[in-house]
Amino acid sequence: MTTKALSIFDRSILVPAVVNAFRKLHPRGMVRNPVMFVTLAGAVVTTAELAAAPFRGEDIGFILQIAVWLWFTVLFANFAEAMAEGRGKAQAATLRKSRTQTLANRRGRGGFLETVPAETLRKNDVMVVKAGEVIPTDGDVIEGAATVDESAITGESAPVIRESGGDRSAVTGGTRVLSDEIVVRVTADPGESFMDHMITLVEGASRQKTPNEIALTILLAALTIIFLIVIMTLKPFGVYSRVTFSIPVLVALLVCLIPTTIGGLLSAIGIAGIDRLVQKNVLAMSGRAVEAAGDVDVLLLDKTGTITIGNRQASEFFPAAGVKPEELAAIAQMASFADETPEGKSIVFLAKGFGLRGRELHDLSHAQFVPFTAKTRMSGVDVENRQYRKGAADAIREFIGTALPAEVEADVDRISQMGGTPLVVADSQKVFGVIYLKDIVKGGLPDRFKRFRAMGIRTIMITGDNPLTAATIAKEAGLDDFLAEARPEDKLALIRREQAAGHLVAMTGDGTNDAPALAQADVGVAMNSGTQAAKEAGNMVDLDSNPTKLIEIVEIGKQLLMTRGALTTFSVANDVAKYFAIIPAMLVATFPQIAALNVMNLHSSRSAILSAIIFNALIIVALIPIALRGVTFRPMGAVAILRRNLLIYGLGGLVAPFIGIKLIDIAITWLHLA
């Protein structure tokens, strides 16, 4: 996916959104949103009143302004939704462009290759893709290995390796093979490939309301019904009290009272939430999954890649009895010069701290390097009859043919217990000591997990290590719990256990054996580099294949729900000020004494009503950036978050319209609009 970040109000989105705001006026779409449908109906009624006004000898100007602002209210809400959809549509268009007509080399019945259009490929067909060709559709590599450029979907230009067997066998349609040739079994029928899914998802074409959105819509509909009754009964109350309420004024009051702010922005918030995930290169298969991410309270995190960087590093030397630390460092360095692995390099780097800078490779011109093999489990160097080796304790034991010295054995045990990997350094006769290789916990994690704990989220590390090692790393990284010596089925059992206790669980996974757990988890994030089975089992796919992103996914889910709640609270709290603007304005002609309720000291009845309706329309536009970006997210405990947001959006929602309506009143009075 092109990760070119579009600003929220990019021109390429703005212009189509304005057009779409009008297109969305179609009642069939509007009826899905009860609040805005009532507003639309109000706009229509007021327009009809406007048309009738000249025949009744009524003043047109005032009714015209009300009608115009009612139409604006509807259009602004539509515009917000169109804006939210705009970014996804732009991305979908880019994706479509990259998917040109491709041809496929399908292996026919007799084993012959035939060239067919990509659309004719069906599941379980077998195709051959050569270097330089675009992979026609999704599949699993069944023969060979190749480097593939997946930048079309991930935006990452570095090629990746795809090979048969194992967890890196899935290839995606639309990506390009750079080298070698692979035989691929097709896994998706036309229209169902990953790319197709992705286009539908970012476009939001198949968007359905999420459970929480449905519940909120019910509440908003209930509020709308209450206000409809309030307004409808005002007419007979007015007959009794000898107050005449004109239809446009009643409609204006109704539209001010029904929660148009949240009603108008609700779908935009949902779309923008999914879009924010897309910006992070995560595809959510449904809005429901994003909502669930906000509710997650248990995170299962794989140790390698998520909590620790993949490689271990040398952190300390433990010399044997009678060996100076410098001596051990020198030998260890020598044994690692030829070792290009990150572990080997880290040993050289550590040894430099002992002032062993001078020795260079040419000093060892006669040396013979012994690389690491799975059989010997050692590596080293042979110099002038001496064989320097570093390796696992039992491998070295075998190499020297005798038991290790007692103090070295003790160091080996101690390092294991601390969660590290001990490497013993020796030559053919003598044991020099032990190198302590340590798992490196990614920076900033303990702090992050601490904030998660404050939010009531428990983090559990999953690792194949022994419990001792696991406990040490879990402690260092600040995790709440760990599952050691974990097999895939243990992972599944753990998820089931947590869920039975009422928790919602999120996890990441890439292998086929992760698929059941991914499917069971409430939020299962599959790595794009993983197998097809894993991707199908999860409800999100991370295109960057970065397991740490799980944390950001949870944050985006929470932010989505917070934005929805904040704007709902704001919207409802706004009504108080609108009452103070409109009620005195409506009654003052009959009961002049009620002018005392005009606390904002608005200029006239008409300016008061107009100011309220204008504020009501403009606030939708003003809040579009918050709806699209989401409210500021701060990981804190629920009590603190609630207090903070109630202050900002509850109290703010009470106060802001008093100021806003007054300012608009001053403006329209100055412009002689009322």
Binding site: L216, T233, P236, F237, Y240, G502
Partner: protein, 572 residues
């Protein structure tokens, strides 16, 4: 606002707080058929007898539909029973005055009124009801309707506290246990105490007395008053034995009886919040709900007291001493403070007993009782109905603001989803729509206007008050409205039935749905349903919903009347 008033208010609050925990703990036992109480030796055999006689297995629980069906059947049968007695009272015993049958519309209105715990009285007690009608037809409901309210509250509390269960209790068991273990013993104690204060309790014919006016003879009504008054207050019924209700010397003889009656109104509703906290294993939640109720109560008392003690500026202009406050329509024995406190309590709880005429309150003083009822009778509220009404607002408040913590809203571990929102919204929507609808009909119909004794905003307040009181099952009247007409009897009767049962059904549905959900464990990230923030949020939600719904109507009634009073020369 004199020091004696402040002192009384303080003592009242102190005793209310002191009562809440012990009575709450007792309620936990009352609502648990397995639990024993100290009255078991006497009452347990009676309870067993009831079960055997009615063929009830107390261990068998009902789902919400079964519970609702039992409740409705019980209420319908009870209402028909009362209707029958009222229509046939001339042939029934204990009728020394030989009072005739009630008209069909009045009998409908009265039986609906007592079935729904409203106790709206379109009739004049002492000149309409025989002792038998008072004691059997009406008193039966005073016990039963209170128990129905308590049962629904217990069912909802069970819904919140249970984890993945279908049952929300057994209606018949809840009904019988409350009557036997709660109301009977408490009423016995209270009635004896009230008799000690001089309240009458007899079956005598009415007495005649020569007054100091020459030749004038006054008929003084008699009757079994104390026993009726005890359940009238404890069951938040409020239907007076006498027409003058708690301002009649026989029905409220001393300051102490007045004080205790007020305390009796709040006793059970207040303790139910403790029961809630105990059942959901979060006593802080119980006290937070209590605090929300308390804050709304306190604000109401203070506004009402302040408004009444300021007096009426128009009367002050005519030379009436403002220092005595607005004494029109108040018992001199009780004065401003006790009238204001009683009016606030009786309308906070859906009691409806009165010791002063709310119609005569100043516009703002009268606004308080009216608005209290419009908030949905959740400020302590009726027995049971106050708690379940409040919990509906808890659900709505949590749903509105709960999203702001970044999780789908949860009420003590129960996720609030579409069904729950639907049920809660209906429970708020139905009374609001009925209230405004009926009032609108009355204000433009011949029959509605015919009952008015005042015109203008005050007349509007009278109609609004009548339907507010009926729909929220309060039963107090603004007076000034001649409501004993076929139109008012029928519409108010329907309003009471709808306002009661169209709320109970969604509440039970909510209870059943919550009970069936799994309970999400509480953590630092869960919605904090306790503490000052939550309490203020709850108070804010109640005030917002109430004022947004009723502000336009109130503006045309008491609000405009207030401004007319202080800003014009018109005298009301």
């Amino acid at each position: 606002m004199n020091p004696m008033g402040w002192l009384q208010l303080f003592v009242f609050i102190f005793l209310l707080v002191a009562l809440t925990k012990p009575l709450g703990l007792y309620l936990v036992r009352v609502f648990d058929p397995e639990a024993g109480t100290f009255v078991d030796p006497v009452i347990k055999p009676v309870e067993r007898l009831f079960y055997r006689f009615l063929g009830i297995n107390p261990a068998e629980e009902q789902d919400w539909k079964g519970y609702a069906a039992s409740l409705l059947i019980f209420s319908v049968v009870g209402m028909l029973f009362t209707y029958g007695i009222l229509r046939l009272q001339q042939w029934l015993p204990l009728n020394p005055q030989g009072l005739g049958p009630l008209s069909p519309d009045l009998a409908f209105n009265t039986s609906a009124s007592f079935t729904t715990n409203t106790n709206w009285q379109s009739y004049v007690g002492e000149s309409t009801m025989s002792y038998f009608s008072q004691m059997v037809a009406l008193s039966f409901h005073n016990f039963a309707s209170a128990a129905v309210g308590g049962a629904v509250a217990a069912a909802l509390v069970r819904g919140v506290s249970r984890d993945k269960m279908a049952g929300i209790g057994n209606f018949w068991v809840d009904l019988i246990r409350q009557s036997l273990y709660l109301y009977l013993p408490l009423c016995l104690l209270l009635a004896v105490f009230l008799v000690s204060q001089g309240m009458i309790q007899n079956f005598s014919p009415y007495a005649s007395a020569k007054t100091i006016e020459t030749g004038a003879v006054q008929t003084i009504a008699q009757g079994p008053v104390a026993s009726q008054v005890a359940i009238k207050m404890l069951g938040t019924n409020g239907g007076g034995f006498m027409n003058a209700n708690a301002s009649h010397p026989y029905e409220n003889p001393t300051p102490l009886s007045n004080f205790l009656q007020m305390l009796a109104i709040f006793a059970i509703p207040s303790s139910l919040t403790y029961y809630l906290g105990r059942m959901v294993k979060n006593q802080k939640h119980g006290w937070s709900v209590w605090s929300a109720m308390f804050l709304l109560f306190l604000a109401g008392v203070l506004v009402c007291w302040w408004a009444e003690s300021r007096g009426n500026p128009r009367l002050t202009a005519l030379g009436v001493d403002a220092a005595y406050g607005s004494m029109e329509g108040k018992e001199v024995r009780f004065g401003i403070f006790n009238s204001a406190l009683f009016a606030t309590i009786t309308t906070d709880a859906s009691c409806g007993a009165v010791n002063a005429m709310h119609d005569s309150f100043t516009p703002l003083g009268g606004l308080v009782p009216l608005f209290n009822m419009q908030l949905g009778e959740v400020v302590f509220g009726g027995v049971g109905s106050g708690l379940y009404g409040m919990m509906i607002f808890v659900v709505l408040a949590i749903f509105l603001a709960g999203l702001m913590i970044g999780r789908t809203p949860e009420y003590l571990g129960k996720k609030i989803e579409a069904f729950d929102v639907k049920a809660a919204a209906l429970a708020v929507l139905i009374p609001a729509v009925l209230l405004l609808g009926f009032t609108a009909w009355a204000t433009i119909s011949r029959w509605g206007i015919a009952g008015l004794n005042n015109s203008g905003p005050h007349g509007f307040s009278e109609i609004l008050y009548a339907f507010t009181s009926a729909i929220n099952n309060n039963g107090s009247a603004f007076a000034g409205l001649s409501a004993n007409t076929p139109w008012y009897n029928t519409t108010l009767g329907l309003a009471m039935l709808c306002g009661r049962f169209f709320v109970i059904i969604p509440v039970l549905a909510l209870a059943g749905n919550l009970a069936g959900k799994k309970t999400v464990p509480q953590s630092a990230g869960s919605f904090p349903a306790f503490g000052p923030t939550f309490t203020l949020l709850l108070v804010g939600t109640i005030l917002l919903v109430g004022s947004l719904t009723f502000l336009p109507a109130l503006s045309l009634g008491p609000v405009v009347e207030h401004f007319l009073m202080i800003n014009s020369q018109n005298l009301f």
